[in-house]
C-alpha cells in the first residue's frame, strides 16, 4: 500500500465521518437534556436542501452553511413545540419529523433539481490543499474542521460550564431542576435547536461537499446511524468521535470494495455492512449493561410538573 493510497483512504474516511459526527454531536446534546429526537434524518435532509438552496441563491457557501443550520433548527422547532408544549410522544413525533423532512426537502428541492454549485472545499492554498501528502491535513472542507472543533467544545460545554451542568441536570431529573428554579422547557428548546442546527450542517455536507447537487433522500439513512452512534458512545463525546470514525471506515470499505471490483462477495454485502454492523455494535454495547449507566435518566419521558 502506497502512502498516496493511505492518504486517499484517510481523506475518504474523514469525509464520510463528518455528517454523522455533526449530527451525532447535536443529538448527544439533545439527549443529555432528556429529549429523544428521532427526527435527525429529516432535519439532515432539510439542512441539505436549505444549505444547497441558499448557496445557489447567494453564491456564498458560508451563508449556505448558515442556511443549513437555520433550516435544521427550524425543522427541529416543529418537534420541540409538540414535544415540549403539548407533551406529545417523543418517539412518534420524531418519526413524524423524519417523514415531514423527507417530503419537505423533496418539495423544496424541485426547483433546484439539476442545479450544481461549486463544492465547498478547502480554503487553504492549493499548494497545501491539493498536495498529495499535505491534503491529509489541509484538504478538507471548512465543515470538517468545524465538526472536529465542535467535539472538544461540546465536551467542554457539557462538563465544565455552568450552562452544561444545568443542561445535564435537566436531563437527569427534570422535576428537581424545575423545583430548584431552572426552566426545563427553555433549556430543552435550546438543546433541540442546537441538535437541529448540527443535523442541518451535517446534512448540507452531502449537498455542498460530497455531491454538490441536490437529490431526494440523499442522506440515505445516515441520520439513523447518527442516532445509533449516540447510544454506541454511551452519551460520551470522546467515544462519539471514535464511534463516528468506526462507522466512517465501514462506509469507506463499501466504496473501496465497489471500486476495486473486490467481487468474491456481492456489492450488496458491502452496502449492507454499515447498517448490519450498527446492529452488531449496538448489541455489543448494550449487552455490557454499563452503557446505560450514563444515559440521562429522563430520556424520552414527558416533563409533567405538578404546578
Amino acid at each position: 500500500m502506497s502512502l498516496e493510497f493511505i492518504i486517499a483512504a484517510i481523506v475518504t474516511v474523514v469525509g464520510l465521518t463528518t455528517p454523522i459526527l455533526l449530527a451525532g454531536l447535536g443529538e448527544l446534546v439533545v439527549e443529555k437534556s432528556g429529549v429523544l429526537n428521532l427526527g435527525v434524518e429529516g432535519m439532515m435532509l432539510v439542512g441539505a436542501i436549505s444549505g444547497f438552496g441558499v448557496t445557489v441563491m447567494t453564491f456564498n457557501p458560508w451563508i449556505g452553511v448558515l442556511g443549513a443550520a437555520a433550516g435544521g433548527a427550524a425543522a427541529s422547532m416543529l418537534f420541540a413545540v409538540l414535544v415540549l408544549q403539548l407533551n406529545s410522544n417523543q418517539v412518534a413525533t420524531g418519526l413524524a419529523l423524519t417523514i415531514f423532512g423527507t417530503g419537505l426537502s423533496s418539495l423544496l428541492g424541485l426547483s433546484f433539481t439539476g442545479r450544481i454549485v461549486a463544492p465547498f472545499l478547502s480554503v487553504f492554498p492549493d499548494a497545501l490543499a491539493k498536495d498529495p501528502i499535505w491534503r491529509v491535513i489541509f484538504g478538507y472542507s471548512p465543515i470538517v474542521y468545524f465538526a472536529l472543533v465542535m467535539v472538544p467544545l461540546t465536551a467542554w460545554f457539557l462538563k465544565s460550564t455552568r450552562a452544561g451542568l444545568i443542561l445535564r441536570a435537566v436531563g437527569e431529573n427534570d422535576l428537581s431542576a424545575h423545583s430548584i428554579g431552572y426552566s426545563v422547557i427553555k433549556v430543552r428548546y435550546a438543546a433541540i435547536a442546537f441538535g437541529g442546527a448540527m443535523a442541518g450542517i451535517g446534512g448540507c455536507y452531502f449537498s455542498m461537499v460530497i455531491t454538490p447537487m441536490w437529490a431526494e433522500k440523499m442522506t440515505a439513512g445516515r441520520g439513523w446511524i447518527a442516532l445509533a452512534l449516540v447510544v454506541f458512545a454511551g452519551w460520551r463525546t470522546g467515544r462519539l468521535l471514535a464511534g463516528a470514525y468506526f462507522f466512517g471506515i465501514l462506509m469507506a470499505l463499501e466504496l473501496y470494495a465497489k471500486a476495486s471490483g473486490f467481487s468474491f462477495l456481492p456489492s450488496q454485502f458491502w452496502a449492507a455492512m454499515p447498517y448490519a454492523m450498527t446492529v452488531v455494535a449496538l448489541s455489543f454495547i448494550s449487552s455490557r449493561g454499563t452503557a446505560g449507566a450514563n444515559a440521562p435518566a429522563c430520556l424520552g419521558k414527558p416533563f409533567l410538573p405538578s404546578t
Binding site: R168, A169, E172, N173, S176, I180, Y182, A297, T307
Partner: protein
Amino acid sequence: MPDPAPAAVARLELTGITKRFPGVLANDHVGFSVRPGEIHALLGENGAGKSTLVKMIYGIMQPDEGEIRWNGRRLTVANPKAARKLGIGMVFQHFSLFEAMTVLENIALGMDAKIPARDLESRILAVMGQYGLKLEPHRIVSTLSVGERQRIEIVRALLLNPQLLIMDEPTSVLTPQEVDQLFVVLRKLAAEGCSILYISHKLHEIKALCDTATILRGGKLVDTCDPKVETSRSMAEKMIGGSLKDIQRGAGRGFGPEKLRVTRLSMAADGPFGTALKDISFTVRASEIFGIAGVAGNGQNALLLALSGEEPNHDPGSVTVNAVEVGQMQARDRRAQGVASVPEERNGHAAVPVFSLADNAILTARDRLGMVRAGLIDPRAARTYAGEVIEAFSVKATGPGAMAESLSGGNLQKYIMGREILQKPQVLVVSQPTWGVDAGAAASIHQALVDLAATGSAIVVISQDLDELLSLCDTLAVINGGRLSRPMKVSEAKIDEIGLLMGGIHGETAAAEIEKVAHAAQA
C-alpha cells in the same frame, strides 16, 4: 433555646393567602407570622395544604389572593431564584437531587451566583465543619444514604446564608438518632437568628423542637399555639378535627398455625441502585401482623418483590405458604397459593394510572375471581368487583370507570387494599400502607388489616413509620442493608434498640451501644 427579642418586624408574615386548584381550595385565607430565630412548626395531615403553602413562600407557585411580607416589606416571590435571593432556603421532602452527579455538582446547581468549583468546595467544607454535617464533595449521589442526601440539601440551603429555612417533613426518612443530630443543627441555626419553618405531622418532634405551631386542616388555619403547652393529643385532635379513633381489636386474639415461612432468603441487587437481600428468615402465623421497620432504601422494596413473586428466587424452599414451597413461583402462581401484595408505589406499580378501576381489578384479581374465560376477559365481572371494592372500602370515585390516577392518594390506596383484601388472601404483604394518606383513610386501612388478620390471614407490614408499626403489629423486625434483625414482640420492644437497629447496629452491639449512651447520659 435563645429567646429572640420580641422584634417589631416579623421575618415572614402571611395574610389571607388563598390558593385554588380545580375542585379544591388548597389554602383558604391562611395567615401567620414567623419571628427571626423562631422555629415555627407547620402542622397538618396529608392534604391539609402545608406543601402548597410553602411552595408559595418559596416561589414555586403564586397565591391567588393574599399577601406575603418579608421583613416588613410586601412582595411577590416570582420564582425559587427570587426566594433564594431574599434569603429563603428550602429542604424538600422528596429531595431535588441529581442521582448521577456528584455532591459538588448538586450543590453548585442550587447556587445562583457563579462560584468557581474550588471556592465552592472550600465554602462547603467550612459550612460542614461549622454545623457538623459530614459529606464527601466528589461522591456520586446515587451511592449515598438517605441521611447523607438530606445533608446535601441542608448544606445547599445553608450556603446561601438563609434568614428563613423551610424544612418539609425532614425526619420521615431518618433514624431516631439521625433525627437528634438534625435537631442539634437546627437549634444552632435558630440561635444564630435564622428562622425555621418546620413542616411535620409528628407531634413529639414538634414538642421537642418548636417554639410555635400553626395547625392547618383542609386548607384552613385552625390554630396557632405553643407546642410546649399543648399535649400531643390536643394538637392531634386539632389537626384531625375530631377525636382520635383507636384501632378496634377483637377480644381473645390468639395466633393460629404457621402460614408464611421465609428461610435464608437471599436475592441479588436489582440494578445498580438496588439493595441485595441477605439471609432473611422469619415466620408469620395465622392472625399475626408482622411488622418490618427500617429506613428507606434498605431492601424493603426487594423484600416485597421477593415475597410477592415479582422477583422469583432460585431456591424453592426460601418461601413457603401453608407449607407449600413457592420460592421459585412467579407472581401469578403465588397468587393462586393465596399470596396477595400491595407495593409502596400506588400509581405505576400497584395500579396502572391510565386504566379505569375496573381494568385495574383485572390486574390482580382475574384468576382468583374467574374474570377470564377461554382467553377472553369478562368486563362485567371486573366492573362488578370494582364496584364491590368501592362500596366496601368507601372509596371516593365516580365509579368503576374512573381512572386510577384521578383518585386522591388515600382513595386509591383504599381501593388497592380493598382489591387485595376482598380476595381473602392467605398471606398479605403490604408496604407503606398509609404513606401520604390522610388520617381518616389511614385509620380505615389499619382497621381493615386488623379485621383481615382476625379472619386468620397472615399479614406482613413493611413501613418506615415506626409509630404505625408499634400501634398495628404483634411482632416486629428491622431491615437494614438487606438483612433482617431477629423478630421481637412489639409489647417488649425498646425504641432505642429499634433505632440502633435501623441505623445498622446489630444484636448485642446494639445492647452495648444503648448502655454506652445511658452511661454517657448519666456522666
